[in-house]
Symmetry: C2
Subunit: 213 residues, 2 copies
């Protein structure tokens, strides 16, 4: 059955790979599944046809036959469960990889997204400059703890997994801030993720959409 | 094998059920599994023994034989996968329930947590009063969209699932703000969750910890 995902017609990041379809594209490339992309403009996101697929009017969505899914983490998990390559076979190792998927979206991503919010949506507010260090200070303990756990390992728990895919993707959001530069082991971890051929293909494909004439 | 979770020795909420062990207790009650609780004080959270279990020094954790997990969402999912009662048998319905689990922690919870952060950690800042409406305004579209999707249904997608358990738990964090009162169908949804015998037992057990002499 054909897999179809949605992506922004024009991503707000202009193709830097930060829109969440990149995570799903990456997962699809890791598991070697072909897919179609339906591009959606901003006005369409909030219209009934798209809201039927995604109750919060976002991208990406995932369609495969009668199945329609939303939420990047859930789509990546569905792919990881259905196809080999993103979750270990051992039951305990699999459960730990899923812990890292949730840690990426629920422990690491919220303070990182706050930084984006502070810069983009509150950058013109009178408190912007004074508040920014507070927002950054809420991210640093998480980065310290993640770096401590990763140590000298290549990936978070044994082989590359969907947990790494999600964590690298979340950390990539931090790169424009320069904060990753203070964490060389995390920067190297992110670079290892980006160097994977599957990531390279996913990145190139979203870039092609966002730089087309 | 005995299941052991960790919880705060004294929860910052004094037993209102907002500490995340309540979510795991609720899941354990729904699937009918007995469990032990090890209480952890704040200084211990950041010590090596606990960090070995939870890299971010939080509660809850989950131990069962050789398996150690962290992240509430991952623990609830592990229980839902292992025992009957929290995920539908049909593969597509199961994948959709997992979408709601991720939606709860990655789409709904971050703006709701921002409200807690604004009140608790930035409540004394000069921008607190002026910024609060912005933070609330980022939650309302999510509540509108969730209410629209729920409609007149009892649960988000068919029978009660781990997706509802997580979503109700996230919405409960919003109750102190009064914002839920503007959404009667969501308030009723949360009340249905709270009325479940499994939730009642979980709530009572965490309350007993926090009100013991």
């Amino acid at each position: 059955m054909t897999i179809t995902i949605t992506a922004f017609d024009r991503s707000p990041d202009g193709g830097k790979g930060l829109a969440r379809d990149t995570r799903v594209r990456w997962a699809l490339e890791e598991v070697g599944q072909p897919y179609d992309v339906r591009l959606v403009g901003f006005p369409e996101l909030k219209q009934p046809a798209h809201l039927a697929l995604h109750p919060f009017g976002q991208i990406p969505t995932y369609e495969e036959g009668d199945l329609a899914l939303f939420e990047t983490g859930a789509i990546v998990f569905h792919l990881a469960e259905r196809f080999a390559g993103l979750l270990p076979a051992d039951a305990d190792a699999r459960a730990r990889a899923i812990s890292w998927m949730f840690a990426a979206v629920n422990t690491m991503e919220p303070p990182i997204l706050d930084l984006t919010t502070a810069r983009i949506f509150e950058g013109d507010k009178p408190w912007a400059a004074e508040r920014l260090p507070l927002v950054q200070a809420r991210i640093r303990p998480r980065l310290d703890q993640l770096a401590a756990r990763l140590g000298k390992a290549e990936w978070l728990d044994g082989d590359f997994s969907a947990g790494d895919l999600m964590m690298v993707s979340v950390l990539l959001r931090l790169r424009p801030s320069g904060m990753l530069d203070d964490y060389p082991t995390l920067a190297a971890y992110v670079a290892r993720g980006e160097a994977r051929p599957a990531y390279q293909r996913a990145f190139a494909d979203q870039l092609a959409v966002n730089t087309r004439a």
